[in-house]
Point group: C2
Chain length 363, copies 2
């Protein structure tokens, strides 16, 4: 039986930041909440999807909005339980497990806090295999599950239950409510049976994030060994090595948009990498040629330590390595690509499979 | 036993427009909905508050947002029932009666539609004795009742249940949700016991609106007789008679703000009346002197027919008569004045009791 204690939480924080592909929010606040809950109630049991009873109620929980706001709106620690309990009450069922919507960023942590508090296992997996900015960008959505009934609560004690006609409407209603309560909220949504979870979730992503976090953080392996593990065990494809020369940020409409430009070092000398981001890194171009796109993961890390760098953390002069990780196959379906492909994010660019990225970058 | 059939509905539409004091929304769409329901299910029983069982559940229903939007988002006729039924389900009680939040404007009609559909009586009264723009501007609020749990539904089938920490938060959350669903929604809120309704409601306002509507519309009385009835039975105080010479409209922030200016005719020759409005008429000034303020009702009507004119209906050249009607005493309490007095609406003007208005206007 696997457990998530304080040590695993630290690993998860590092790995989730990498899977956040620049966005997903710094896990800081979420980690504080999860640490407090685990210190008090003990480690959280990490269950395999196969252990779920078919008819049992599984409730995913998450934070919505800007994590930066959350730092100023310190959660009282009970919101997540309130959100989960609200769905339990509406559905007149007791949850058998808590689930993670997004394994990247802060939302890898939130479900652990409530799992510890409620003495429930958390399922090893999520619905993105990374981080995405909107509520319908989940494997659950691709598999036709509804995000509602959805509970949304804030740290003051306000709560809403949303029952929308479809998942984009749920996103819209929850987004405006989140803005109304001050920019961040705690949500429980996509309540489902164990059977539906087994069918629709992206499996093993919490273990994957902890493995990666352990590798990059605590392990004593060399840089080359770490890169080898990322390549061999996680399918990483190196895209670029270079120096950040410009970070252009365009905020507005609720997203942190921008472009980071790097000039190459070593084998990449004289080349230029540009990454377009909207919260998460979405498109990587080398000398104007697209080398990787969403939904594959475009990760930026410190060149030496390989510790992940978020888009907020990008600064002139940083030596970085950029690499891609293949997305979960759910995103390669027609509905998956419609939901999170480059076109959805407003780019007139078709998805470029990551496998060929290295060859293209070296052209 | 009093009943509201199609004829009474027509009277109510006229009277509710007058009690809307320029705002409250044109009852057109609400009247269509109520007419359709009454034609199909028969007249609605108008019950006296005293008939309510003390422990019975009473549910007020209303429209929120811009009535002009509602014209383009034709309700499917079932939203109100959905809203009321949502509260019944949450509270695990069956409603014994439907109530009216605001007797002025469109919201005098909405509860009648659902009352006819659900075969429930509607209680004779409301929570304002007029129209006001925000959800906490109710006698229920003054008496310490909570607006939540509140149900909000739209014509597409989206629904929200709000449980806020206080009534201003309910207003804020419901307002943003209403904007998100397109600018208009149907709401059920302030669910309460019969005992609480008896204690906190403004009584008799539906009868009052129908009486006034009958007087101004169907009755064959002369203009002078009509004015006499308004004065003697409803406490009307004439403020001005004149011609509209300017209507300045400043929209934005979700309110229809503006100022109407009139020059006097007859006994008011050479005088100037200005009325400030924010949806409803809020402040009346004669030659720069305040003669009437919110929460008293400032009504504008056609000089000859005495039919009420809404702020949207104001036009250059109209011959009008302006008069005040005294507000319900609940608004003269400290909490009442805090909630709907001139200061709340942003005017640095103290409330001026209506009784002295005529004397001041004639000075």
């Amino acid at each position: 039986m696997k457990e998530i204690g304080l040590q695993e939480l630290a690993d998860l924080a590092v790995g989730a930041t990498l899977l956040g592909t620049g966005g997903g929010g710094d896990p800081f606040i979420g980690r504080l909440m999860a640490e407090a809950a685990i210190s008090r109630y003990g480690p959280v049991r990490l269950a395999d999807a196969e252990e779920l009873p078919d008819e049992g109620l599984v409730v995913p929980a998450a934070m919505m909005g800007a994590p930066t706001v959350m730092v100023e709106k310190i959660p009282n620690g009970r919101e997540i339980e309130t959100a989960v309990a609200t769905l339990e009450k509406i559905l007149d069922k007791t949850a058998v497990a808590v689930m993670t919507i997004e394994a990247g960023g802060i939302n890898s942590m939130i479900p652990l806090a409530v799992a510890a508090q409620m003495n429930l296992p958390v399922i090893d997996g999520d619905s993105m295999g990374r981080a995405f900015p909107e509520l319908q960008m989940t494997s659950f959505h691709v598999f036709g599950l509804k995000a509602t009934p959805m509970a949304l609560v804030d740290e003051k004690g306000n709560s809403l239950v949303i029952d929308a006609i479809d998942n984009p409407w749920t996103e819209r209603l929850a987004r405006t409510a989140t803005v109304a309560v001050g920019g961040a909220s705690i949500i429980a949504l996509y309540p489902m049976t164990g059977r539906a979870a087994k069918r629709s979730m992206v499996r093993g992503t919490l273990t994957k994030a902890m493995d990666i976090g352990h590798l990059l953080g605590r392990s004593r392996r060399s840089r080359e060994e770490k890169l080898n593990v990322l390549r061999e065990q996680h399918g990483a494809v190196e895209l670029f090595t270079g120096k950040v020369v410009d970070v252009e940020r365009r905020s507005g409409d609720g997203f942190a948009r921008g472009t980071v430009s790097c000039i190459g070092l070593g084998a990449y000398a004289d080349r230029v990498l540009r990454i377009e981001f909207q919260n998460e890194n979405l498109i990587a171009m080398c000398d104007g040629r697209v080398v990787a796109t969403v939904p594959d993961l475009i990760c930026v890390a410190d060149r030496e330590t390989l510790m992940p760098i978020t888009t907020e953390g990008l600064m002139y002069g940083q030596r970085i390595v950029a690499f891609g990780l293949p997305c979960d196959p759910v995103w390669l379906t027609e509905k998956g690509m419609e939901t999170v492909g480059p076109h959805y994010f407003g780019y007139e660019i078709d998805y470029v499979p990551l496998a060929g990225a290295r060859a293209r970058a070296a052209q």
